[in-house]
């Protein structure tokens, strides 16, 4: 792991503040300190992605997976912290390098229905970015588009269709084709198979794995489905209320989870061989990110919590080769 990671986030945080009220604006002009309470979607997250690997990001709804994915792919700027592509931040780059770097990391969005403009034909949806960025000539456009569609397993005749004429699985393929059209190195896939039934899901996952081989792609794979993540990822990061609480090679994480939250989460997985399952239930619901618990965010639901967990935030630290966890139990 001495190689420079292809993509790295250092101490990333993102807070979404509600708009200021008039009173707050006046108070601020008069020099009062900012008192707005925001959603801390991501708090002090650091992680690195090596070239060619698949890093899975798992966690419950609202824990900040999409926000983290958007920051890593440059769609959203962090409130603090930095993103590095091949070791460089955008400040280290000149304008041309910055533009090139932006294309190298592509995000495939959560909702294939909302992210494709219904009034634009498939051919233009896919062809727009590479044309604008001068990656292809007008003369080679048609061949290029046909080739991309075939790569994602669609017939070139789909180029003339509109998104609403496609099934969910086909739309997801268009989203992938669109990202591939600018020749990226890293794909950030946000819940790319969540809306699909099992048979379409298998097709799209197979497509991702084939493209990885063919194009030497690197993936950040965001999903709340532990079974899917186990299947495709080399390493997995578990996110809880804006923080990465554990990160490890996949087989190790599933086989020897360390953090009490990871253990609880893995206990919820429904499997085909478990019949008349006795569900082990994590007590309580996820707290609101508007007022996260003090100390370890998981302490109100943790069966192992100690007095210290209420007051002191555990640090994410190495507990074995490549295995990081943030739990006070590891200090004992």
């Amino acid at each position: 792991m001495t190689e420079t990671p292809i993509l790295e986030g250092r101490n990333l945080s993102k807070a979404f503040l509600p708009p200021r009220s008039l009173a707050q604006t006046i108070a601020r002009m008069l020099g009062a300190s900012e008192g707005r309470r925001g959603v801390h979607a991501v708090s002090d997250v650091s992680l690195a992605v090596q070239k060619g690997e698949v890093l899975g990001l798992v966690g419950e709804s609202g824990c900040g997976k999409s926000t983290l994915g958007r920051i890593l792919s440059g769609v959203l700027s962090p409130s603090s912290g930095q993103v590095r592509y091949r070791g460089q931040t955008t400040q280290d780059m000149n304008a041309a390098e910055r533009k090139a770097a932006a294309l190298k990391i592509q995000m495939i969005f959560q909702n294939p229905y909302a992210s494709l403009n219904p009034r634009i034909r498939v051919g233009n949806l896919i062809g727009e970015a590479p044309t604008v960025h001068g990656l292809i000539d007008r003369s080679e456009r048609d061949d290029f588009l046909s080739e991309i569609l075939q790569r994602v397993g669609l017939d070139p005749s789909y180029l003339d269709r509109f998104p609403h004429q496609l099934s969910g699985g086909q739309r997801q393929r268009i989203g992938i084709a669109r990202a591939l059209a600018v020749d990226p190195e890293v794909l950030v896939c946000d819940e790319s198979v969540a809306a699909l039934d099992v048979s379409s899901q298998a097709q799209i996952l197979n497509l991702f794995m084939r493209l990885r081989e063919e194009l030497q792609l690197t993936y950040v794979f965001i999903s709340h489905d532990l079974g899917v993540v186990y299947h495709v990822s080399d390493r997995v990061a578990i996110v809880y209320l804006g923080r990465v609480v554990e990160i490890a090679p996949t087989v190790e994480l599933y086989g020897e989870p360390n953090h009490p939250y990871t253990r609880a989460l893995l206990g919820q997985v429904t499997r085909l061989h478990d019949r008349r399952q006795k569900y082990t239930v994590i007590k309580g619901e996820m707290p609101s990110p508007l007022s996260p618990p003090t100390g370890c965010h998981f302490h109100p639901r943790c069966p192992m919590a100690m007095p210290r967990c209420k007051t002191e935030t555990p640090v994410l630290r190495e507990i074995g080769p490549g295995h990081l966890s943030s739990c006070h139990l590891n200090d004992q």
């Binding site: 709804s61 709340h224 079974g227 499997r271 619901e285």
Partner: protein
């Protein structure tokens, strides 16, 4: 009608007459349900699961219509009943919950008001009795601090909480049958596990029978007693969960099971069912799955009878495990 069945769906056909042609959304569907039983209804998107559930409750709107078949609740055919009579059964004897709890909940009313109204729709209750019953069902679905929740509006609650309240409302009148359509699909695994565990306890404790509609096979594996697998409007296979999932007798079921990631070696290509472009109008004659089936034979284009082995029913003449 066999005495032990609370519901019998018999030869149900629900078709949509559109300008482009007839969509046979539900085509000759038959199954039965016993008190306290949990029946899983699985199949891919568009296979007819929701329309089956809605047909049972008489909630099909034009251009859809129940063309033939019966839905017998305690021996009485509900198909064709006048609306006031079916309305008396709906919500009281047979209740439904949807993927979106806001289909059940009214956004502008407090939870206690909604629950009181749901009770009052079917029987006369005074305020105190309504409150007591509301608290009882809220506890049943695992809501902590139910007294506080009664005073909340839906928007003040998380998605998981809303879905539990929708289930609680469905349980208010102690229905004999609850039909849940993708009720936990939009929820996190943690919340889903909580709700599934409450549902199991509920059916065991109250004798309510449950039809659990989902495309997630592993949920059905963990929850249900029996399962029906739907493809293109038909039930292609039904039986005990163990029989169907361990020894599938239809190639569609086998394909579905094979494509679940946990049934494949990690990182290896997943087994997948052959892809086709489907039209809802021109289904293949005979077995509708035959243009995707790896084991198709000449007879597959003829009408396929329902075959049975020890209560395990299937519509396949060349099944994965040959019949002895």
């Amino acid at each position: 009608m066999r005495a032990e069945n609370i519901l019998e769906v018999d030869g149900l056909q629900t078709w949509f007459h559109t300008r482009k042609g007839v969509i046979k959304a539900v085509d000759s569907v038959s199954f039965s349900l016993r008190p306290g039983e949990i029946l899983g209804l699985v199949g891919e998107s568009g296979s007819g699961k929701s329309i089956t559930g809605l047909s049972i409750l008489g909630l099909i709107d034009p251009p859809g219509r129940i063309v033939s078949g019966e839905v017998r609740y305690k021996g009485r055919n509900l198909v064709g009943l006048p609306e006031p009579e079916i309305r008396a059964i709906r919500g009281r004897n047979i209740a439904m919950i949807f993927q979106d709890p806001m289909m059940t909940l009214n956004p502008v009313l407090r939870i206690d008001t909604q629950m009181r109204w749901a009770l009052a729709a079917h029987e006369q209750v005074d305020k105190n009795a309504a409150r007591a019953r509301s608290l009882e069902v809220l506890r049943l679905v695992g809501i902590a601090a139910p007294e506080e929740r009664l005073g909340s509006y839906p928007h003040e609650l998380s998605g998981g909480m809303r879905q539990r309240i929708a289930i609680a409302i469905a349980m208010l009148n102690k229905p004999d049958i609850l039909i849940a359509d993708e009720a936990t699909t939009a929820l996190d695994v943690t919340i889903q596990a909580q709700i599934l565990s409450e549902m199991q306890n509920l059916c065991a404790a109250t004798g309510t029978a449950l039809i659990w509609i989902t495309h997630d096979l592993s949920v059905v594996a963990g929850l249900a007693d029996r399962v029906c697998v739907m493809y293109a409007g038909r039930i292609v296979e039904q039986g005990l969960v163990d029989d169907v999932l361990d020894r599938p007798m239809h190639h569609y079921t086998e394909g579905l099971i094979g494509s679940v990631p946990s049934m494949n070696a990690r990182g290896k290509p997943l087994k997948q069912i052959a892809e086709i472009t489907r039209s809802l109008f021109d289904l293949p004659s005979g077995c509708a799955f035959r243009n995707r089936c790896p084991k198709v034979i000449a007879g597959c284009s003829e009408p396929i009878p329902v075959l049975e082995r020890n209560g395990h029913q299937f519509r396949c003449i060349n099944p994965p495990v040959p019949a002895p």
